[in-house]
């Protein structure tokens, strides 16, 4: 269905115009509500700007310097966020992968039921399950320690203890997210052509061998995708801490042991009303997200030809 050359030319121009018309709402939105605020945010980070005060004072990189060298609470929040991210991403992805492989087993009965059950926690509102876990982890009458007691184990103080509060939040997080990554891995496993496994089996490869030499390399794009998302979500920890540790207007306790970077940023901006300082912290978070995402893609992503 080729059109004459002259028509094709005017068609091209018409196409360009229509393409930009169709793109206009999105591009306008990104310009006004993504790019502009990002630039503003960077600009704020160079100023000392208490909210509500009209004049800002330019301080250059002073906010960044203070954050990195002179702010123990911020450093605590960084350390907590790192512990949370590592401590949730690794178990969540490992359990999710094992579950996905189990659910992909050809002789498994009730596959649909298992998938629904494991995915269900992810559908529940984070605020709601946050309060459920807050109660479940109650040291004296909470159900978790009640179950421990059945086995004669004295459970820890969980959210009341400085040592166990963050692991408590991590537990909730792992419980809620595993099903989501399981479904992602299941989708990835479906794309591996069965011929590879059959070939490996004919060659006499053991199940262990096939997992390391066939399944894992072929699942690599999915694994990279899942781990990048999991790390980004981990670094943005906020709602769970807000819900599970809030007590008479103080969050991130006991004694800052669950204070996350985003919680610290929100409180700096909207409680201490120090917009400039908060913006600098947000930019450090952005750099961490960007850096870690690229790093994961570099380390994990091995092109695999087949």
């Amino acid at each position: 269905m080729r059109l004459p050359a002259k028509n094709r030319h005017s068609l091209n121009r018409k196409q360009t115009i229509w393409a930009y018309v169709f793109l206009a709402p999105s591009l306008l939105f990104f310009a006004v509500f993504v790019i502009y605020p990002t630039i503003r945010s960077f600009q704020y980070s160079l100023f000392d700007w208490p909210l509500g005060v009209p004049q800002k004072t330019f301080v250059g990189l002073e906010n960044y310097r203070r954050l990195l060298t002179d702010d123990p609470v911020f450093m605590t929040s960084v350390w907590n966020t790192v512990r949370f991210t590592v401590g949730t991403t690794v178990p969540t992805l490992v359990i999710a992968l094992l579950l996905a492989m189990a659910l992909n087993h050809p002789q498994l009965k009730l596959r649909g039921l298992f998938r629904t059950v494991y995915f269900l926690p992810f559908v529940l509102s984070l605020v709601a399950v946050g309060f459920v876990w807050r109660w479940m982890l109650e040291p004296t009458f909470g159900p978790v320690n009640a179950v421990f007691r059945i086995f004669g184990i004295q459970g820890p103080g969980w959210l009341a203890s400085q040592t166990w509060a963050l692991p408590g939040v991590m537990l909730m997080s792992i419980w809620r997210d595993t099903g989501f990554y399981m479904v992602i891995f299941l989708a990835g496993l479906q794309t591996i052509p069965s011929a590879f496994h059959e070939a490996a089996m004919i060659d006499g490869a053991s199940a262990w061998h096939r997992f390391w030499k066939v399944t894992l390399p072929l699942l690599n794009p999915t694994i990279v995708f899942a781990s990048v998302i999991a790390v980004i979500n981990g670094l943005q920890l906020y709602t769970a801490v807000y819900v599970m540790t809030g007590k008479s207007g103080i969050y991130g306790g006991p004694l800052n042991s669950t204070r996350s970077v985003v919680l610290q940023i929100v409180e700096t901006a909207f409680r201490s009303l120090n917009m400039g300082y908060a913006s600098a912290a947000v930019f450090l978070l952005f750099l961490a997200i960007l850096g870690l995402s690229l790093l994961q893609i570099r380390i994990l992503d091995r092109p695999f030809e087949y």
């Binding site: 091209n12 018409k14 196409q15 360009t16 229509w18 393409a19 793109l23 709402p25 999105s26 990104f30 509500f33 993504v34 605020p37 990002t38 503003r40 945010s41 189990a102 992909n104 087993h105 050809p106 498994l108 596959r111 298992f114 998938r115 629904t116 059950v117 494991y118 269900l120 529940l124 509102s125 984070l126 605020v127 709601a128 399950v129 309060f131 459920v132 009458f141 159900p143 595993t178 479904v183 992602i184 989708a187 479906q190 591996i192 069965s194 496994h197 059959e198 199940a207 399944t215 943005q236 906020y238 709602t239 007590k247 909207f270 917009m275 908060a278 947000v282 978070l285 960007l290 995402s293």
Partner: protein, 295 residues
């Protein structure tokens, strides 16, 4: 359509080959036992939440715990609405914000995805990479300037203000572009030769053919909007404009000792998405399949 069924069907991928038949049978039984144990762990918090919502406070606090309620009573649910009559309003607020967000995301994403996949023009790749790049910008970066903008425009405590940061999404554009690219371009060219207008082609050909991707995107956007917490927390001041998660957080925070009411309010909050999940379960999984592969 069939991708969901594919998951439920046995495939040869991941097949184990233990030596003998007996050993294989034992392995299969063990696998089922492990999965059942894991399933109990996954459902335990849900069980605890639902049963507690029907219990009296004294029963909730009993040590050792009474796992099942002595009698089923809806008292707690009535009490939630009595203590916070606005709770019904929070459902409405969340639903309105979700409706605005889903409508806007579906419309803008499919338009942009169509332009980026079926039109040839200068700057196409640059624009696509730019849009993908915005995915790396975390919401917290935009938070303070957006807050200033929304305050300046007097949009705090409005539905538009609540929906604003999520009206367009790079992820949606990416998803729609990938999907529309798989629709044969001949269909559109034929319509063009028949004299159809460009908007006509979009509405009458592209949109109807994109239904699977649109419904997956609608579900993700709906869940995302329903879950939004930080932004509504910042810009809602009036009690009547709270969305459901904010309403629940402030309600439960006020009644920290009333676990019976907390759990009833939590059940009410999770119910809408649980219903959506069970009705649209296949589309959920299909949607994840659609996105997970191309990530």
């Amino acid at each position: 359509m069939d991708s969901a069924r594919r998951i439920t069907q046995p495939s040869a991928a991941g097949t184990y080959a233990p030596p003998s038949r007996n050993a294989r049978r034992i392995a299969i039984i063990g696998l089922h036992c492990l999965l059942i144990a894991g399933g109990i762990l996954a459902l335990f918090p849900v069980f605890v939440m639902v049963t507690a919502s029907f219990k009296s406070l004294a029963e909730v606090l009993r040590v050792p715990p009474a796992w099942l309620p002595e009698q089923l009573t809806l008292k707690n649910f009535r009490e939630v609405f009595r203590q916070q009559p606005l709770y019904a309003r929070y459902f409405l607020n969340s639903a309105i914000v979700a409706l605005i967000t889903v409508g806007s995301v579906l419309f803008t994403s499919s338009l942009a995805g169509y332009a980026l996949s079926k039109f040839r023009f200068r700057g196409r790749n640059a624009i696509f990479i730019f849009i993908l790049g915005t995915m790396m910008i975390p919401f917290e970066i935009r938070m303070v300037p957006l807050y200033v903008m929304v305050s300046d425009w007097h949009l705090t405590d409005t539905y538009l203000g609540l929906a604003l940061p999520g009206l367009v999404g790079a992820f949606g554009i990416f998803l729609m572009r990938q999907f529309i690219a798989s629709i044969p371009g001949d269909l559109m060219d034929a319509a063009r030769i028949d004299g159809a207008s460009e908007p006509g082609i979009f509405f009458r050909i592209v949109l109807p053919l994109s239904k699977p991707a649109l419904s997956a995107l609608a579900i993700f956007t709906l869940v995302g909007s329903w879950e939004a917490f930080l932004w509504p927390l910042l810009i809602v001041n009036s009690e009547t404009m709270r969305t459901l998660p904010i309403g629940l957080a402030l309600f439960a925070g006020r009644y920290l000792q009333r676990l019976d009411l907390q759990m009833a309010a939590s059940v009410l909050t999770v119910l809408p998405m649980v219903i959506v999940f069970f009705v649209l379960q296949r589309r959920f999984v299909e949607g994840l399949t659609l996105t997970g592969l191309k990530g």
